[in-house]
């Protein structure tokens, strides 16, 4: 008789969500503790083992360097260029990946024709192509944008194809019986239905985009965090190199969590947004 349940009682689902909220607090407690323990271990190791400063610097020194990096406009300039290359490449990857994905999922011959080439772009070790991109597109930011886009594109494409193909036949019947136009079917059914898949693709894609941008910077040009890291390494300034590594990781976290926020905003109805 669940059908006739009084309106005032919250459905079991709402109760489950409250439970989930309490569980969601756990990482906020455990993460700082584990992180603290890790740094403590690092500190102790450096202190007692007598390891060379050029191999593993002490956490306190890295912290000082990181603070200096954060207050240094030059550091922010490098950060800006890395972020720019990442986001521009990611943007292109979204446009091409989602656009091509929707087309491929709907047009069978297009899928059959393009599939070998798409697979080929994946099996070729793309990082090995970076020097080539540098030759073709120069030492500027363009080559980095392209590396980031090429890396991020594939997971976005495959997830979009999967999403559009996974649309429920019953939902299609509804739209057909309502005489919906092709555009209405796309806008009201296919796009929202594929969105959870696309966002999963974006989550993988953004991480690959930042990797692409940094690897691109390793191999050419004079801007970006990747470049900065190589310079510090060549100068044996390990404190600063570690600080840049941590800075890069934080940038990665920030971008990844932005996609998580996007997930909550765009698909609040989906199970994956309720964690």
């Amino acid at each position: 008789m669940s059908d006739l349940a009084p309106v005032g009682t919250p459905p079991s689902d709402v109760l489950a969500r409250r439970q989930g909220l309490r569980e969601g607090l756990l990482p906020w407690i455990t993460t700082p503790i584990l992180l603290g323990a890790l740094i403590g271990l690092w500190h102790a190791y450096v202190k007692w083992s007598g390891i060379s400063h050029f191999i593993l610097p002490a956490p306190a020194d890295v912290w000082t360097e990181w603070l200096r990096l954060m207050t240094n406009p030059r550091g922010w300039n490098h950060t800006y260029w890395t972020l720019y290359a990442t986001l521009a490449g990611f943007g292109w990857a979204i446009i091409i990946g989602v656009g091509l994905g929707v087309a491929i999922a709907r047009v069978r011959w297009l899928e059959l024709t393009l599939n070998p080439f798409i697979v080929a772009t994946q099996v070729i070790p793309k990082v090995a192509l970076v020097p080539l991109f540098v030759v073709w597109f120069g030492f500027g930011v363009t080559s980095k944008v392209i590396v980031a886009a090429v890396l991020a594109f594939f997971p976005i494409l495959t997830n979009t194809v999967l999403g559009v193909k996974s649309i429920d036949e019953g939902h299609r019947d509804v739209m057909t019986s309502l005489n919906a136009t092709r555009w209405q079917i796309f806008r009201r059914l296919e796009l929202p239905s594929a969105l959870p898949y696309i966002i999963t693709g974006l989550e993988v894609g953004i991480v690959l985009a930042i990797i692409g941008a940094i690897v691109g910077e390793y191999l050419g040009g004079n801007l970006g965090l990747g470049r900065m890291l190589i310079e510090r390494m060549n100068a044996f300034e390990m404190d600063e190199m570690f600080a840049i590594l941590i800075h890069m990781s934080m940038l990665g976290f920030l971008l990844y969590f932005s996609i998580g926020i996007l997930r909550r905003l765009l698909i609040p109805w989906h199970g994956s947004a309720r964690r």
Binding site: S2, D13, D168, V174, S177, N179, R188, W269
Partner: protein, 268 residues
């Protein structure tokens, strides 16, 4: 609440020589052999039969979802199929309810119910009002802002019925709408559907494989037999309305149910 069935001049739905073959030329499957059927304005017709009898195929052809291989099908006097092409003007008087509620999980209940109106370009405020009205009609008032996943199966199916009613089609086509519900909810939904039908005066074709559901709801039961699907017998159900849940213990009800059960055993 006197209900007067099918005295109107023009029947709501007319099938003449409607047949369906599935599959390839090498291995065709005869889903439905040439079928004639006429459904009156405001009539409640139930299609009953074992699986493979073509009852869902028949309903989906009337609903404009699959094209018949041959024959002529009119809805409210308008030809529905021009060869393989569906004529959109004939579909506008049809509302479909499926076995699964098929609500869109990214829309709230009210937006789901108002989806057909949105597709037709109705303004948001007007849609909302209509959706609230329909929620009350089908007995889910107060749940307008919920996600579909927050509702029970029965309530979701009520919302699906409300969605089909939203644009006020003259005809409701229901494909085993309560097949996935538990027995108690199903009985409640049958009562509810009868009262919605009596309130709105829609023409309803409902597909089921439950004999008691068929006898409870129908003015007329069309019994189909399988391989190939065809109409076996048509049974009138002259039990007065509104039928209450205890109608099942009436002799007239039991006689019809027994006759159907025996016939079903013979053909399947």
């Amino acid at each position: 609440m006197e209900h007067v069935p099918m005295t109107a001049a023009q029947p709501a739905i007319v099938l003449s020589g409607i047949a369906k073959w599935y599959g390839t030329r090498d291995r065709p499957v005869h889903a439905l052999s040439s079928t004639d059927l006429s459904v009156g304005e405001g009539e409640f017709v139930v299609l009953l039969g074992p699986s493979g009898c073509g009852k869902t195929t028949l309903l989906r052809m009337v609903g404009g979802l699959i094209a018949p291989t041959s024959g002529r099908l009119t809805v409210e006097g308008q030809l529905l199929w021009q060869g393989e092409q569906r004529r959109p003007e004939a579909v506008s008087e049809l509302g479909m309810v499926f076995q699964d509620a098929n609500l869109f999980p990214w829309l709230s209940i009210e937006d789901n119910i108002a989806l057909p109106l949105e597709l037709k370009g109705m303004a948001r405020a007007e849609r909302r009002m209509k959706a609230h009205e329909l929620c009350r009609l089908v007995g889910i008032g107060g749940f307008e802002r919920r996600w579909p996943r927050e509702l029970s199966g029965g309530m979701r199916q009520r919302a699906a019925i409300a969605r089909a009613l939203s644009y006020d089609p003259k005809i409701l086509l229901m494909d085993e709408p309560f097949g996935a519900l538990d027995a108690m909810t199903r009985d409640a939904m049958n009562l509810e559907l009868q009262s919605i039908w009596m309130d709105t005066g829609k023409t309803i074709i409902l597909v089921t494989h439950s004999i008691s559901e068929a006898v409870f709801l129908a003015d007329r039961i069309v019994l189909l037999s399988p391989r190939p699907g065809k109409i076996d017998t048509i049974v009138d159900v002259p039990i007065p309305r509104p039928r209450r849940s205890d109608v099942q213990s009436m002799a007239a009800f039991q006689d019809i149910a027994l006759a159907l059960r025996q016939r079903l055993a013979a053909i399947s």
